[in-house]
Amino acid sequence: MANQDASLAKPARQKGLPIKARRAIAYVVLTIVVVMCLFWFYVLVINTTRNTGELAAGFTPFPSTHFIDNWKSLLADSLPMVKGMFNSLLVATLTAVLSTYFSTMTAYAIHAYDFKLKKFIFTFILMIMMIPSQVTALGFFRLVLKMNLEDSYIPLIVPSIAAPVTFYYMKQYMESNLPLSLVEAARIDGSGEFRTFNSIVLPLMKPAIAVQMIFTFVGSWNNYFIPALIIHDTKKMTLPILLARLRSADWLKFDMGKVYAMILFSIAPVVVVYLLLSRFIVGGVAAGSVKG
């Protein structure tokens, strides 16, 4: 009763929790969320420094001294992890470059020019945006077999030229950041259309290109379903396929320290790049989307 009286006595404005209490709750919850996100990676890093015996003895929150040993056994393993990283880097980089370049070009075609099929093509691209690659995987796989492109990187890289999602982002960005008067000015100065695109439009699109390059790179780096269907040669495998191989190996014989090292090795590049560019990624994405 006393509590009720007290709350009734308060002015209406102070109903609910006071701001300081709300802030405190927010910080507590956020801290729990942060721990929930990072705990797994903490265990991963700790366990990468421990050998099989220590790992079998149970978890301790402190690192041990076997990081180098685990790294050496990773290098000596029959799964070519370093080669796999090189392969992943090659595929993801080429995918990111081709995908963003040609998506910008496609967006520019729709944004800057006026032609009969424009509306139709734009609507069409929006409609196919959501179709996942899994549902066409069968036809894609058979096409790859027919073209004799099994164990080749072409089917992993070239299809990214037609990336509706990247296209859509570029198109949105152009609407608010690419004044057509600039293009007109370039024309008056006698610049050819292709040159205008490369030397005027691309530089103006840099922020959007950077964001999309990162996401396309990460998407390709992490991609598992399609590459696993196409790449069978161990030397050509990308990291996700190698990890799947690792998973299907005989677990009883395994050096667990090495397994943790392999997992850390596969995710470290993306994590490092992300932490270096995180402000830019999260902030840039939010800014781009608000302007969108």
Binding site: R22, L180, L239, P240, I263, V290
Partner: protein, 334 residues
Amino acid sequence: MSDQNNGKPAEQAQASALMQGKSGASAPDGKAAARKNKKAVSYNRWGYYFLIPFIVVYLIFSFIPLCTTIYNSFFINYLARMKQVGPTFDGLGRYVKLLQDGDIFVYLKNTMIMWIMGFVPQILLSLLLGAWFSDPQLRLKFQNFFKTVIYLPNLIMAAAFGMLFFALFADSGPINSILVSLGIFKEPFKFLANVWSARWLIAFMNFLMWFGNTTILLMAGMLGIDPSLFEAAQVDGATSSQIFRMITLPLLRPILLYVVITSLIGGLQMFDVPQILTNGSGAPMNSTKTLVMFLNEYLKNKNYGMAGAVSVLMFIVTAILSIIIFRINSRTNK
């Protein structure tokens, strides 16, 4: 949820376009001016030239595969003990067989159960965090740090994440070691041998990988709401939870719907995590086998007829969901 990875910024752009009622399809300014210009006609040819790479690549690597996928679904065509059977035309026979066998319903149910178990906590937490991040009264510090951390799991390779959780939650792994030493369990719990713990694990991983993305998406939407609405409500003495229920949520509806459907499309594609975690077996007793794992099995066994039928059914479902999104977009754009 694997292939959504590179879709986020555009999703967000789309989401904020939803909020602001901007048109994605609007023609650029200067269109009318360009039309009047005679010279422009010759420039406009370049629109087609610039579209060539996209169209050629799309036709070869997406459109033809889609057609052959559908075509293959009408044929009996598989390898049995190294012997090729078919291809023989079967009409809709593969679909009938698929639906009569009924396995597809089991895997659809698994997929949906794990999606819901991951999505419900995901949307709740994202709404809460989004509201806090976008609340000007609260003025949370370290926002960039929090956003960076919650977004991080989304960029982690799902295959590596699955492998990591497999190692962590193994019978003799560190999680069991911690739980036993804390006295929560007397002996190691077999997480991957129990139907519901295995499903919860997969759902939790999906939740972990996607709630940061959803938070940023919803936050962008919340920041797009006219701040004077909040101020007016505060002056009228509304509490923050009232403001959230009466103003934020209703205005966020188009984005929420968008998030639900894109997540559902992503959920239907659930593959990497359960595939790696269970080594493709969908253990225990196929209870974690998803639709795409089912499709993957047919592809690996070169049973093209059945793989085609599964793909086409999935295509139809995704297409229906996509049309809903397309409708939401164009309705709010008007």
